[in-house]
């Protein structure tokens, strides 16, 4: 796999770039390149998780209290509580991961129509996720939980609670930005697959888009319990 041998005659397929020798080599390069990019994303979110871990280690009770305040705010009905909205959001993202994986499968097996519909489904689910996220942000705004001068938190450690909410908004905000970029990528893929550019021999962009989308889902898989579920056990 490391390097090819030129003896095998490779018909010059239209998708093969001039500096590669075989489609296999080109795909492996793209796959390795994408995973290196995901490594940089892991380290980017990693820095945030380090800040979260440090402040949770130093102020555990405040974080539990603030998370309880985030997940089950006192006077709001059960369907507007963030723990419910968060769970729905995680399900939405898992389903979108499934549709994305099926889309890659459809590309592999050359079913163009199904590929387009599955990509569209993934985009719709992504938009639903962002909608619910926007609703949650609005609810937090109403409950005066946005760090800053009008941040209301009756318990004693108001300042440390602002740390929790700062980390919450920066973490989920950065995740939402990555979702928007993901939706852009999916839109490009839908446009290209409708034009029929992807064949079972060459569908690398769909697979790379899939890798990116699944990564964004994995980040949410970690964000959800760490921010929503740590304060519920009292």
């Amino acid at each position: 796999m490391a390097q090819h041998n030129p003896a095998v005659p490779t018909q010059h397929s239209p998708h093969l770039a001039h500096h590669f020798d075989t489609l296999e080599q080109q795909y492996d390069a793209a796959n390795a390149g994408m995973w290196l990019f995901l490594a940089t994303e892991i380290m980017l979110f990693g820095a945030l998780f380090v800040a979260y871990a440090v402040y949770r280690f130093v102020y555990p009770e405040t974080f539990f209290e603030a998370s309880r305040h985030l997940a089950i705010p006192a006077e709001s009905p059960w369907y507007l509580r963030s723990v419910f909205l968060g769970t729905i959001n995680t399900t939405v993202l898992l389903v979108s991961s499934l549709t994305m994986a099926l889309a890659v499968h459809a590309a592999q097996t050359g079913k163009r129509n199904r590929l387009v519909w599955l990509l569209l489904a993934t985009m719709v689910l992504g938009t639903v996720f962002l909608g619910i996220k926007g609703l949650e942000y609005f609810l937090k705004y109403e409950e005066h939980l946005i760090p800053g001068p009008n941040f209301i938190f009756e318990q004693a450690n108001r300042n440390q609670a602002q740390l929790f909410f700062l980390l919450y908004f920066i973490g989920t905000g950065l995740h939402a930005v990555h979702m928007v970029i993901g939706l852009g990528l999916l839109a490009y893929l839908v446009f290209q697959s409708r034009k029929g550019r992807f064949t079972p021999e060459w569908f690398t962009p769909v697979e790379m888009g899939g890798l990116y989308w699944h990564f964004v889902d994995v980040v949410w898989v970690f964000l959800f319990p760490l921010f929503y579920l740590i304060g519920l056990h009292e």
């Binding site: 796959n31 995901l38 998780f49 130093v58 890659v104 890798l211 994995v218």
Partner: protein, 113 residues
């Protein structure tokens, strides 16, 4: 391009497992496990992450190089988090300071915080 085509059935079984784990993690959150709650929450999250990475992201079937890259990224994250947390664990209480530690005059001066 003999790409390993994963049967549809696998996708759906993995998806089912992920939903199950989601229900589990939310359910466990309501129990009072004390210090173990973070361990359980993180291990469930890791389980879900590994399922997604191995099957949805085809790492299980792709080249060894890609598997190494994925593992390296995780290892570097552990480098960063372990040594940083080690510093904060070993500070043994002198940070964060209790507001009234120190002499009255200086504490009084600092009351502007």
């Amino acid at each position: 391009m003999e790409h390993h085509i994963i049967p549809l059935r696998t996708y759906f079984t993995i998806f089912g497992a992920l939903l199950l784990l989601l229900g589990l993690t939310v359910g466990v959150a309501f129990l009072d496990l004390g210090p173990f709650s973070v361990v359980v929450a993180l291990s469930i999250a890791f389980a879900k992450a590994i399922l997604i990475v191995l099957f949805f992201m085809h790492v299980r079937y792709s080249s060894r190089l890609v598997q190494i890259f994925a593992a390296t990224a995780l290892l570097w994250f552990f480098f960063m988090i372990s040594l940083t947390i080690a510093d904060y664990m070993a500070r043994s209480g002198d940070w964060p300071p209790s507001p009234d530690s120190g002499p009255l005059s200086l504490a009084e001066e600092r009351r502007l915080w």
